[in-house]
Symmetry: C2
Subunit: 476 residues, 2 copies
């Protein structure tokens, strides 16, 4: 039976070859179902994927049409950087803190922001859930629901993993003040200051900060812009370095958006289990998949408890409520104790409001709208980059999340672009942030998670002009 | 002019001497005012103090009467322990975590609990404040109010210090997930693993855990059960050890309840400022004073920013909301950055609900009722200990908070008492918890902060019997 992805590829090729032209209507779902003998959901998934990729557009009640603005063919993945596996001294965090401070500046076009638009979240419904939860709250819960957290909320979180086919015991879960606390606690129970931790290249700057804060050293592992951590590179690193833990984002990695294929995740967990090295899995974007399928986390293959899997509602449901969690495997008891010692408990009102929301409202309905908004916006961002940036620019096309990773021509200094864009009211995240040795000097992470922002298209134009100007300046 | 305290002492002496007898009515406030030429508030303060000390009882609408159950004269402070100033290896926290877990067992009489009764707090009013705050919340606050926290809440906190005559800038405040996070962050920005930190003896076990967690070493400073840290002892410790920070509770110390006199606080800050040693001031009980005066924190004398003053609403207004703060002096910028790196932000709903409560409701009215309940209960606890415990027992009589520190006869093992009491459904905090070398082996910290608990009187009787039995067993 034909799979949705193959059918989508087939149509994409026909569009690229000009056999289907802008404005052409795609066959109705019913027609394809009949002609190809596939299910309606397969056809729908294929059309949905093409829409997120920018090839087609949905028009209300009248079906799917080939888009007038097609994605540019040159915008494929950039070649894998040759990451060197050596220990890096870390001296970081000023630039990263400036970036986070930018998030609070409402007049800045938030392409550098680490967060999706706050307008994408159901705060009114959350407020109603909070109201009901607090009316029912038993004051004694303030002492009974200390770490590891409210038992009913932990059951709800475990149940969501159940829908992915994962059998996660609520007893393995510790509720935390967002994923950032979860990740820091995971680092704390698996390492000692001075230890070596393997990270991706490029890596989330929060990971670099966390390592710096704990006095750890980092070793970078080669990371493919589409398929994530390269296991051959990781194996070499583990053979030559006394790595005490790995901190990876196997799904919709920050900043590149890459996702390790299922088999690679399984192999990663197998490799680390054999060597008894803990994997700290940062999975804060997993719910934000653009296609029809939720990629399972690496934790799904964890049989012996070496994966400390960290998640959060901050990017999927309730920013600012600060509710995250960790399923810490064999480290659970120790981690719960460290949580208690470091911050005693997680805010009870936030826990209870989210619990009520999960029990009484449709998390799925909200998520579908959120994913769709992010996917459409990604397509628009990629088109705009193709239109306004130099032709040698490369951009990733992640299957989820709200970042794309842009590789500018090599002669461009992203920090200069960052500063000039800032002067024109546009925030950007320069590639320097994502490696301890600042090697990603001509890269930008672009946040496209602000679908309501009308300045978006114009800002891409301005940003493109700035990039062009920097190119001219450098004289090539 | 006569001061309220002198007048209270005068009356206490007359009661102890039998000149005023149980059931006697004290003169009316108006009468004393006229006879002695003092203000009504002086008389009221004196009567209030006598009430908290257990000498008199207020009867509705008819004034104050000498109590039938007077405090026993033998229950004064115990002698200062000879604390030795040497570095202690720390190996701790299992017992402490058991203790915290006990707090969640509702069937256990909570004399070992670290928390006051959740029934003492205005959760209904807080829920209403939360409702109003969330209806008005701007979604953009979720990114704008990242660390150091909501600006209006920081202004409100600073204003409360203003009522103490302290000029604290909102810019010096960082909102944290409870005081525990504040204290841990304070430790993080002032020390490196392996450093030596001066603590009280006995000390809050949370401090011992925090030091252990960060790989620090502790040196204990002699601490008086009524007047707190002894400056001569501290000076000796500083002369002979490379102390990198002090972690003290100068007001209503946990576990003893002692409070350093104002002059001693001023001298402490002066001493540490001269030596450029940071003082981490744990002031979570300051609002819970029993008498008429809020003892100013050591921070009030901080001119050069060496005091990192940590407070919280968890014990005074909103348990479970997890809102604390730190005024970190010269360490503020660094601490705000560490907060951002470790947990990004503090739960916004909790911040906004407390802000609304402070702006719209009477925090003072709630606090007056809370303080009064705790003071009355302290007097009852001290009477019960006097009645049921061996006569050689000594107990502190703190001017605030909800703990008393009980020194049992030296031949009694508090851990055995703790275990036997637990089997009879009574929680206790054995003295072992409060020193790294478990030296307080015949001491108990008793929580009397559960005024609604009808089991209280009976439990003191059972506890007294257990103590007597252990005495008999040890053959003395």
């Amino acid at each position: 039976m034909i799979r949705y992805k193959e059918y989508a590829d087939e149509l994409a090729q026909r569009i690229q070859a000009g056999h289907l032209k802008p404005g052409d209507r795609l066959p109705s779902i019913r027609a394809v179902k009949r002609q190809r003998g596939v299910s309606a959901s397969t056809v729908f998934s294929a059309y949905y994927l093409l829409e997120t990729q920018g090839y087609v557009e949905a028009r209300n009640r009248s079906g799917y049409y080939v888009s007038a603005k097609m994605p540019l063919p040159g915008l494929a993945e950039r070649p894998t950087p040759v990451a060197q596996a050596h220990a890096l001294p870390l001296d970081f965090s000023t630039l990263a803190c400036q970036m986070l401070a930018q998030a609070g500046q409402r007049n800045l076009v938030p392409m550098g922001s680490a967060f999706p638009s706050p307008e994408l979240f159901p705060f009114d419904q959350l407020a109603m859930s909070m109201g009901r939860a607090l009316r029912r709250m038993d004051p004694w819960q303030t002492v009974e629901d200390l770490s590891p957290g409210n038992p009913a909320l932990r059951r709800q979180i475990a149940m969501r993993y159940g829908t992915l086919g994962m059998d996660l015991a609520p007893a393995e879960l510790v509720v935390t003040s967002g994923a950032m606390e979860a990740l820091n606690l995971a680092l704390e129970v698996t390492t000692q200051p001075g230890d070596l931790v393997a990270i991706e290249s490029p890596a989330f700057y929060g990971a670099l900060q966390a390592l710096e804060r704990r006095g750890l050293r980092a070793v970078e592992v080669q990371t493919h812009p589409r398929t994530g951590v390269e296991l051959a590179s990781l194996r070499r690193v583990l053979d030559t370095h006394a790595v005490k833990a790995c901190w990876f984002m196997p799904t919709f990695q920050n900043p590149m958006g890459c996702t390790m294929p299922d088999e690679a995740k399984a192999a990663l967990v197998g490799l680390l289990t054999t060597r008894q090295i803990p994997l700290i899995e940062d999975d804060v974007y997993g719910e934000l998949y653009h296609g029809p399928r939720h990629p399972p986390p690496a934790k799904a293959w964890d049989r012996e408890g070496w994966v400390l899997h960290c998640g959060s509602f901050s990017k999927s449901l309730a920013p600012g409520y600060r509710i995250g969690w960790v399923a810490a495997g064999r480290f659970t008891a120790r981690l719960a104790r460290h949580k208690m010692m470091s911050s005693l408990a997680t805010a009870l009102p936030s826990q209870l409001a989210i619990l009520d929301f999960l029990q009484k409202r449709s998390f799925e309905r909200h998520l579908r709208a959120l994913r769709h908004a992010l996917a459409r916006q990604q397509a628009a961002a990629i088109r705009a980059i193709g239109q306004y940036f130099p032709s040698a620019t490369k951009v990733t096309q992640p299957q989820g999340g709200y970042f794309v990773w842009v590789e500018l021509p090599a002669d461009i200094d992203a920090l200069a672009v960052h500063q000039q864009a800032g002067q024109q009211g546009i925030g950007t995240a320069p590639g320097h942030l994502f490696s301890a040795d600042h090697r990603y000097s001509h890269h930008l992470r672009i946040n496209h998670g602000y679908p309501g922002d009308l300045r978006s298209e114009a800002s891409f134009k301005v940003l493109g002009e700035i990039v062009h100007r920097n190119r001219a300046r450098s004289g090539t």
